[in-house]
């Protein structure tokens, strides 16, 4: 039996989850204080996901600035560097509103990249 510890990132309580596995299967999850912890541990063990946040270039009045962006939903951890690879190539033009999609299927994650700031 193997024991793993992980931090539940569902809410700021950040429960320390203790996950016991046998032959690659979860046999016990403890340390959670709500049911969301169980779902998190299962996902984290099988296919962990992360929200990717970064910046892309934005052109406004002929000048270049940085626009904060993020994946709309968490993407598979395996794809994080692929997402970053695509992010580096993107350049957008103002105006952009917070929540607006700036790129689709970023890093082949089938996830959208959205703006985190309004630049008009």
């Amino acid at each position: 039996m193997k024991t793993l510890t992980m931090a539940c990132t569902t809410c700021p309580a950040s429960c320390k989850l203790i996950v016991k596995t046998e032959n690659g299967e979860i046999v016990e999850i403890s340390g959670n204080t709500c049911p969301r912890g169980i779902a998190f541990a299962q996902k984290e063990y099988t296919d962990p996901e992360r929200l990717v946040t970064s910046t892309v270039l934005i052109e406004k009045d002929g000048k270049e600035f940085l626009l904060p962006v993020r994946t709309k939903t968490p993407v598979s951890k395996k794809l994080v560097f692929d997402v970053m690879e695509d992010i580096r190539k993107i350049k957008v033009k103002a105006p952009v509103r917070v929540g607006e999609v700036v790129y689709e299927n970023i890093g082949n994650s089938s996830c959208e990249l959205i703006a985190c700031k309004t630049v008009v």
């Binding site: 931090a7 990132t9 809410c11 700021p12 990717v52 940085l66 970053m84 917070v98 985190c116 700031k117």
Partner: protein, 411 residues
């Protein structure tokens, strides 16, 4: 010179200042925000990572998104915003500031201090060695990377396991820099557990506890740092020195509330938090001057900053309207044992429930908080873990309070 009258003037346009101003505007008409930067949002603008808003908005946002919600609300409101404006001093309830047009005198009935905090630097932790380029605070590196499109260096060592340091370890790794390791002088990590997991473990960045940087090496540019293990008294152990070649050293070694302006108003400051001493209505030692957010004490979640700021804004507006009555209660609150500080330091208003915020000085695996009124327990929490990186809150109902002295203890 511009002279203007306001009900409430808020100094600082970050999350605390915006929330305080918006809340004040619910009761009074003339509210101003004075901000030294060219945009509102404060430090949230460079905190492009997520994890904000889980408590206040019930959803996970990045710093800029969290800020945008308040920027939009301020923009739609009647609040007068002075950008690129630096406050020089507060004198007789007048905020004296300066911008491109010259001197501004903003006369206020009440003032809210919301200037936030700044980072501790190399000078404050006294690392021996030379003074090359490449030694900078984690927040400055964050500004370079996320706002100014500048690369801080190539081979990075981070000193201090505070959250900003951990967040920057991940950020720089994602941007293709070689992040070698994080060193922490204490025997425990200072950042949130989730950040250790998601920022270091995810990227195989090692965290070395009870280890610190003992020498900065390099003439023009940083060439290496010397690290050493430390003993129980945090003193470097001779013979454990190791040379780590690197060109960038990020310091994530704590924050200091930025109270230079508060001092000009004669506000009393706490030696422990570095922020103003306040009563439970968030009023400082100077009548009509309120404080909230990181200028008061360093918070770990912006959601808490917003709530605290709303309270300060509400109370400042009430004061501006002359609705506050002379208080007869004076209950001092003190921290005891492993509790490093408690806020507020006095309770003057027992009309509503009283929130006590506190932090422990070192981790306690299993402890219980007890609040005593004159040595009689009036509140007892359940057994849990206490860590310095997490601010704790205890709510007392007014009927539990009477004249005497409150003491907060964790055992």
């Amino acid at each position: 010179m511009t002279e203007k009258d306001f009900d409430v003037v808020v100094i600082g346009g970050g999350p605390a200042g915006m929330a305080a101003a918006l809340e004040a505007l619910k009761s009074v008409k003339k509210v101003a925000i004075v901000e030294r930067n060219d945009e509102l949002g404060g430090i949230l603008n460079q905190c492009i990572h997520s994890g904000f808003g889980l408590q206040y908005f019930n959803e996970e946002l990045t710093g800029p998104e969290y800020a945008q919600r308040f920027i939009d609300r301020v923009g739609d409101s009647e609040i007068e915003v002075f950008l690129n404006t630096m406050v020089l001093e507060i004198k007789d309830k007048t905020v004296i500031a300066m911008n491109e047009e010259g001197i501004l005198k903003l006369k206020a009935k009440a003032i809210v201090l919301a200037m936030g905090c700044r980072e501790r630097t190399r000078g404050q932790i006294r690392i021996p060695g030379t003074r090359p380029a490449g030694v900078l605070t984690a927040g400055l590196a964050q500004r370079y990377t996320n706002l100014e499109n500048l690369k801080p260096g190539n081979r990075v060592v981070i000193l201090g396991s505070g959250d900003i340091g951990l967040i920057m370890a991940r950020r720089l790794k994602l941007e293709g820099l070689n992040v070698l390791s994080v060193y922490e002088i204490m025997p425990y990590a200072n950042g949130l557990f989730r950040n250790i997991k998601n920022c270091l473990d995810d990227f195989d960045i090692p965290l070395h506890l009870s280890t610190t940087v003992t020498k900065v090496i390099g003439s023009k540019r940083l060439q290496a740092v010397e690290v050493s293990a430390v003993d129980d008294n945090l003193e470097p152990i001779p013979g454990t020195e190791e040379i780590i070649p690197c060109d960038t050293l990020l310091l994530s070694v704590g924050l200091i509330p930025e109270n230079e302006v508060s001092k000009t108003a004669g506000v009393d400051l706490s030696k422990i938090t570095g922020g103003p001493v306040v009563s439970n209505d968030l009023q400082t030692s100077e009548e009509g001057i309120f404080a909230c957010g990181n200028v008061l004490h360093v918070h770990d979640l912006v959601d808490h900053v917003t709530r605290e700021a709303e309270e300060a804004g509400r109370n400042a507006a009430r004061y501006a309207l002359g609705e506050t009555s002379e208080s007869t209660t004076q209950i001092p609150v003190e921290a005891s044992g492993p509790v490093r500080y408690v806020l507020p330091s006095t309770i003057t208003n027992t009309d509503e429930k009283v929130e006590l915020k506190f932090r422990v000085g070192s981790p306690i695996e299993k402890g219980k908080v007890t609040v005593y009124l004159n040595d009689e327990p009036v509140y007892e929490g359940r057994e849990k873990e206490f860590v310095p990186s997490i601010m704790e809150t205890v709510t007392l109902s007014p009927e539990k309070l009477s004249d005497g002295k409150l003491r907060v203890e964790v055992k």
